[in-house]
Amino acid sequence: MSFMSSLRTKKNYALITITALFLLITVASAQQDVSCYHCHTNVVEEFRNNIHYTMGFTCANCHGGSEESNTSVVSSNVMSGDFIGKPTRDKITNICSKCHAQETNDYKQSIHWDAITKGHPEAATCTDCHGIHEIRAISDNKSSSNHQNSPATCAKCHANSEIMSAWYYGIKADRMDTYKESFHWKALKNGYKVVATCADCHENHITKSHTDPASTTYPDNLPRTCGKEGCHPGVKFDAAIAAGLVHDKESLHTGDLVFNKSGLTPQMKAYYFGPFDLAYWIATFFKILTAGVIGAFTGMVILDCLSRFKLQKRW
């Protein structure tokens, strides 16, 4: 009897199956240092990338309850005691503040928290920027809240006109588009990281509206914000930074003649010379000039070229 045919006997088949099962359980058990894994597999997979996981925190540290469940009755113990499950959006800060008191304190002065307390729980809270289960260290390149990824993270909401217009305060949804026109973005996208991203001007936790005098982006505060250590030191405090759009793009400037400029913001007004928006008219001037000069001279080069086929003797 050959080895292969002996495998086919029922007894051996059962043996092999049992061995495989043990192997499987051993492998599965290696993944089992987080007991919630059996049911919340994806969540735990994410949690393994979490800086808190590497520091020894467990599910219970945020979600409450107990993790000392035995394998047979998985959930009964976990959901006992102070288990809070999935916190509502306005309660997330309560969890983070247990350790990150200073950050939470800063965040609670922000316009985001302000919106949440006013009954708009969609406003950004800790997890929207830092991630829910996959919270990475700020120094981690993959962190959604580090310096170079913050534009994409903020754009999740701020480039979404549906989310922005859903709220009564009408925030502009072109903040990412306009940022992309800036030198800061063009440098950042090519790997030069020593440039301003969202949080450098707007602050990460104490994000305030530019209409709030305490905001870093309030017009009078702009010279100090731009003049930060490591950015543009030496900026004079009366520098005319507010007389212009920091978030600018071509489509904001039109050829419409504006004679009554009372409806314009001071930022926009700075572009006008009489009724003309200079940003539009200078760009238009150069379009005409370039098309005219290059068109005329290229035409002449072509004529010059063609003339050589007709006229053998040029002089």
Partner: protein
């Protein structure tokens, strides 16, 4: 034996020489002017290569070029260094030709004249086969357009470039909005200059069958007698006339 003999054109009274000694070269550019042009070529090309990827950041070649020059920070350093070189060149050019060059301003041959406008139309008619080729003097209307185009471009690019290099110094005098206007002027004018140099200027001095692969005047500063007769016949005749007069004076 062929001996090169350079004829000083801007100051033709200095001319002395004997045509029988061999091939005659005509001095087109002084060494000073040649060096200015070389510095211009170097800084201009560096500025185009490092500037255009930022003018067109979303094109496929933008990150390629930035990678080739050594990253974005290096790109910025090169652009700034070349830009400052060009500013210094522009200042030197103006200072030299206003204060050092003794030729009276009104007698400079670089000013546009009515003849240039006529030559312009005659050139077009010539291309269409309906007129003789116009006879040019020291500078043809094309060369004058090149020069004044570059002059205008230098002023635009240097001023706006300095505003962009020191935006917060500039903002002590002008509002932030004008720094934006400077970026519009800087990049649009740069694009115009680049297209003009690459298409028109290079046609005239590189690709055109008369000079292909290139006119060597930018290296030697000289034109051959043949080239002078063809490209600057009026100037050639003038020089020949002055030479004859001089010889008469010397012989009498």
């Amino acid at each position: 034996m062929k001996k090169a003999l350079a004829v000083e054109l801007s100051d033709s009274t200095k001319f002395s020489g004997d045509r029988n000694m061999g091939e005659v070269f005509f001095k087109r550019f002084t060494f000073n002017q040649l060096v200015q042009h070389w510095v211009m070529i170097g800084s201009f090309m560096a500025l185009v290569v490092t500037g255009m990827p930022v003018k067109f950041p979303d094109t496929w070649w933008s990150p390629v070029i930035i990678g080739l020059v050594g990253g974005f920070e290096m790109r910025t350093q090169i652009h700034h260094a070349a830009g400052i070189t060009m500013v210094v060149l522009g200042v030197y050019h103006i200072v030299y030709h206003l204060f050092v060059d003794k030729e009276p301003l009104s007698e400079r041959k670089v000013w546009p004249t009515i003849k240039d406008a006529k030559d312009f139309w005659q050139t077009i008619f010539f291309y269409l086969g309906k007129a003789e080729h116009p006879k040019f003097g020291r500078y043809s209307w094309k060369e004058k357009f090149d020069y004044w185009g570059a002059f205008w471009g230098m002023v635009m690019l240097c001023v706006t470039g300095l505003i962009m290099l020191f935006p917060f110094v500039a903002m002590n005098f002008i509002p932030y909005a004008y720094v934006h206007l400077a970026t519009i002027i800087h990049t649009d004018e740069a694009l115009l200059a680049t297209l003009f140099i690459f298409i028109v200027h290079w046609w005239n001095v590189h690709y055109s069958p008369e000079v292909f692969p290139m006119s060597k005047a930018w290296i030697t500063g000289n034109l051959s007698e043949e080239q002078m007769k063809h490209e600057h016949p009026l100037e050639y005749e003038e020089i020949m006339r002055q030479m004859a007069e001089k010889n008469e004076v010397a012989n009498s």
